[in-house]
């Protein structure tokens, strides 16, 4: 892969989900994260010439995403913010290790989702595909809201563990 634009496109594609996850962490909701990701993509595209193949694309893209997030928050009313600026900065400073290939991660997630018991998979799908609030899910299932939160949290934990172990399988 010697063509710089090819490398750039590969990296940008590869980093989409992780950038989304990063922005989601900073902003706390998928809609804002998506908007800011699109802004970020445009900025990265415009700055493509500044990118040197072989350097850390992720770090560069994250920094760019962070500034876009700050700009986005400045334009918003204060009460929509999840984080104060200093906590946002802490998140920006701490770079999680991105040792895994994006497509492997995606594959691992799908595999792990497939392993969930039907009932749990349905819960996850209702929560994420249909975007039904926890409160509603709890009511539909005749559970307390706190119990439903806990259940979703546990499923996410289980998924996370499963994904980590799959990724280790793939890289070992």
């Amino acid at each position: 892969m010697t063509d710089p634009s090819e490398e750039f496109l590969y990296q940008l594609t590869d980093w989409q989900n992780r950038l989304f996850g990063y922005l989601f962490t900073l902003l706390g909701n998928p809609h804002d994260a998506r908007d800011v990701l699109q802004e970020t993509n445009l900025v990265l595209w415009r700055k493509m010439n500044e990118f040197e193949p072989g350097t850390d694309f992720g770090a560069w893209a994250r920094k760019c995403a962070y500034f876009q997030a700050l700009a986005f928050l400045r334009d918003r009313k204060r009460d929509r913010h999840v984080f104060s600026d200093d906590v946002l900065a802490l998140f920006a400073e701490e770079t999680p290790s991105a040792a895994y290939d994006e497509s492997e991660l995606s594959l691992a997630l799908r595999d792990c989702l497939g392993q969930l018991p039907e009932r749990q998979r349905q819960l996850i799908s209702r929560r994420y595909r249909d975007e039904i609030p926890v409160r509603q899910l709890a009511a539909d299932n005749g559970k307390k809201e706190s119990a439903m939160k806990m259940m979703l949290m546990r499923i996410r934990e289980a998924l996370h563990t499963c994904i980590e172990s799959k990724l280790q399988e793939m890289t070992s």
Partner: protein
């Protein structure tokens, strides 16, 4: 792993508020405080949010898939060619990129990967298994058949599963196994929440807990009992689900899933009894009376656990076994050796995992005139018994010896000899004698294994036997 330096439950609750878009000012302040103080909390937060984001993308996002040629992501390609093609595809449609959750039906991964370890093994004897069985072995997908003993496996997810013989367990992946028959006790840490044990009649799904599953080899019936936490038992045939909390149990067969029952500390099922043991070539006196005390009551009703086995348990209820031998007409002076022979057989009650290596004591009743019969003996009337306790009245008995049964052993022949037994038999020959069998070792947790010794009513195994060797009649 060290304790986190933040309140995990609080943080989880706050995360849930963020995700639901319902974070108020007070919550916001708490969340910022927690995350400002603890890098560990930030890591935890990030981990949760990233997974949430990924789930969101996987379900809601992934629009580029429609614009990328579908053959690009055919399932059989290697990682490398997939990567290269991804680049080409990306170049073709950059303007539309927002996410790449593309691969709808991945191949199952790691068919030959190892994902569990044989952690420990007690008195184990294996039937043909297609997996290694020595302690420390790494296990992949396959079947384990345990003929005797107790074996603990640890899955890489953190789930700990103890298999009690006889049992057949199929390992599927780090979060999933199938119990074809037998007993497993599962201990599931938070890391393995969602761990699933499938059986012929149910899917037992864990939510962070300790529980046991028993599958009857003959009927395929599943008995699930929860000691701590929460599990859900799914019935694949009907799609019904029953939740079991701490202390609850239920059962399922192919036709139906039964409701949760509260509180029984005891029975889970009945396992088949073993083949008869060989007898040594001695002169045998079998019991003329034998019985166990410590009858359990379930909802006020007396429940007889076994007609054919003499049960011993050091837990609630405390079960002791009384053995009566008729030594009338035997001349004490002629006795040169004495041996008590017992046959241990599986009772099917309780869990071997909850009882460590166990020591049993045999005591002799000092008075011969305290009459009891196996028909009428009770906790209260049994001679020298301290009712509802593990002990005996020390002044009324003499300890004759003790023996050890290793954890997990449920079938063996026990022979007890020694000077004390010989002296006792000599002293009391010529009349009835009573021996009392009790387990000194208490169970570690409720619902520990009940040990059972064949009684004189056992259809195949010999009764408890006092074997004695007599010298030639002297003139």
């Amino acid at each position: 792993m060290s304790e986190p330096d933040y309140d995990k439950e609080q943080l989880l609750a706050l995360i849930a508020e963020v995700l639901d878009g319902r974070l108020d000012d007070v919550d916001r302040e708490s969340l910022n405080d927690v995350l400002r103080e603890s890098p560990e909390a930030r890591r935890f937060y990030r981990k949760h949010m990233e997974l949430h984001a990924r789930l969101h993308l996987d379900y809601v996002g992934g629009q580029p898939a429609e614009f990328m040629p579908s053959h690009v992501f055919s399932r059989r390609q290697s990682w490398f060619s997939r990567r290269r093609l991804l680049v080409a595809a990306a170049a073709a449609c950059f303007a539309l990129i927002v996410g790449i959750a593309l691969l709808r039906k991945p191949e199952p991964l790691g068919v030959n990967r190892e994902f569990a370890t044989v952690e420990s093994s007690r008195a184990a004897r294996w039937d043909s298994s297609n997996l290694p069985t020595t302690v420390g072995s790494r296990l992949k997908k396959g079947t384990l058949r345990l003929a005797e003993g107790l074996v603990t496996l640890r899955f890489d997810s953190g789930a700990q599963v103890t298999l009690e013989a006889p049992a057949e367990l199929i390992l599927v992946d780090p979060m999933h196994c199938t119990l074809a028959n037998g007993i497993v006790v599962a201990d599931i840490p938070d890391s393995a929440v969602g761990f699933r044990i499938a059986t012929p009649s149910a899917n037992v799904v864990d939510y962070g807990t300790r529980f046991s599953v028993i599958v009857d080899a003959a009927t395929g019936e599943t008995h699930t009992q929860v000691y701590e936490g929460l599990v859900e038992v799914e019935h694949p045939q009907s799609g019904e689900i029953v939740s079991l909390k701490s202390g609850q149990l239920n059962s399922a067969d192919e036709k139906e899933l039964r409701e949760a029952l509260d509180g029984a500390n005891e029975p889970l099922g009945s396992m088949p009894l073993g083949p008869p043991m060989r007898e040594p070539d001695w002169t045998h006196l079998e019991t003329t009376q034998d019985a166990y005390i410590g009858i359990s009551r379930l909802k006020g009703k007396v429940v007889h656990r076994s007609e054919t086995l003499l049960l011993v348990k050091n837990g609630i209820p405390h079960r002791k076994t009384y053995l009566g031998f008729d030594l009338a007409g035997i001349d004490p002076a002629r006795i040169v050796e004495a041996e008590l022979i017992l046959r241990l057989a599986p009772t099917g009650w309780g869990l071997a995992s909850h009882v460590p290596d166990a020591t049993f004591s045999v005591s002799g009743l000092l008075r011969n005139d305290l009459l009891w019969s196996d028909e009428s003996i009770t906790e209260e009337t049994a001679p020298a018994n301290v009712a509802n306790q593990a002990g005996l009245v020390n002044t009324e008995v003499q300890k004759l010896g003790s023996f050890l049964i290793e954890q997990g052993v449920q079938r063996c022949q026990i022979k007890l000899q020694g000077e004390s037994l010989l002296a006792f038999v000599r002293t009391h020959a010529g009349s009835n004698v009573t021996l009392i069998l009790a387990r000194d070792t208490a169970e570690i947790e409720d619902n520990g294994l009940v040990h059972g010794f064949a009684s004189r009513r056992h259809p195949t195994l010999p009764a408890p036997t006092l074997a004695i060797r007599l010298t030639e009649v002297a003139d």
